[in-house]
Symmetry: C2
Subunit: 96 residues, 2 copies
């Protein structure tokens, strides 16, 4: 399995709008076992995203899915940047 | 929902033993939607744990479950510490 943990920063005052777009954008993605979108309670603009995929290749391929590309296009103007990014090797647990 | 992202550090040379104990310790935990145990490929000793719970109270209560206490007792001698810890407010996504 392949995992990602990252924190996205919304443009000022745009976190709730960005969350709404991202939460609407979660149609099926092949190989995606978990994709959790979370508000960062420690900041005004942070959004944590934690992902588990069957493989790194399936994660990469997901970025080319039409509905993912549409979500990226809608979200991009509301994103200021990313300040945390960790790759992981998920081994197991609950819910994956 | 209540979420946690944390990185645990295994004692030197003990990561695989610690992973094995943690992966065996995942019997049912009320209110737990996701609990992902992952190797940190960027270090020799890091283990990422990402959790989604129905509530912070259910996470706290889980630490008192007999099987969780047993896992903690087995794991503790192999844990050197924790160097990352983020609380989150999961909003939705895939697999929770």
């Amino acid at each position: 399995m392949y995992g990602l943990i990252g924190r996205m920063l919304a443009a000022e005052g745009k976190r709730e709008d960005l969350l709404r777009i991202m939460l609407e954008g979660n149609a099926a993605m092949p190989g995606c076992r978990s994709y959790v979108i979370a508000r960062d309670p420690a900041s005004e603009d942070g959004i944590w995203i934690t992902e588990v995929w069957d493989s790194q290749e399936q994660h990469a391929a997901s970025l080319h899915l039409p509905h993912v590309q549409a979500t990226i296009a809608r979200a991009r103007p509301l994103i200021a940047g990313f300040d945390q990014r960790f790759e992981t090797e998920p081994m197991g647990g609950v819910g994956i």
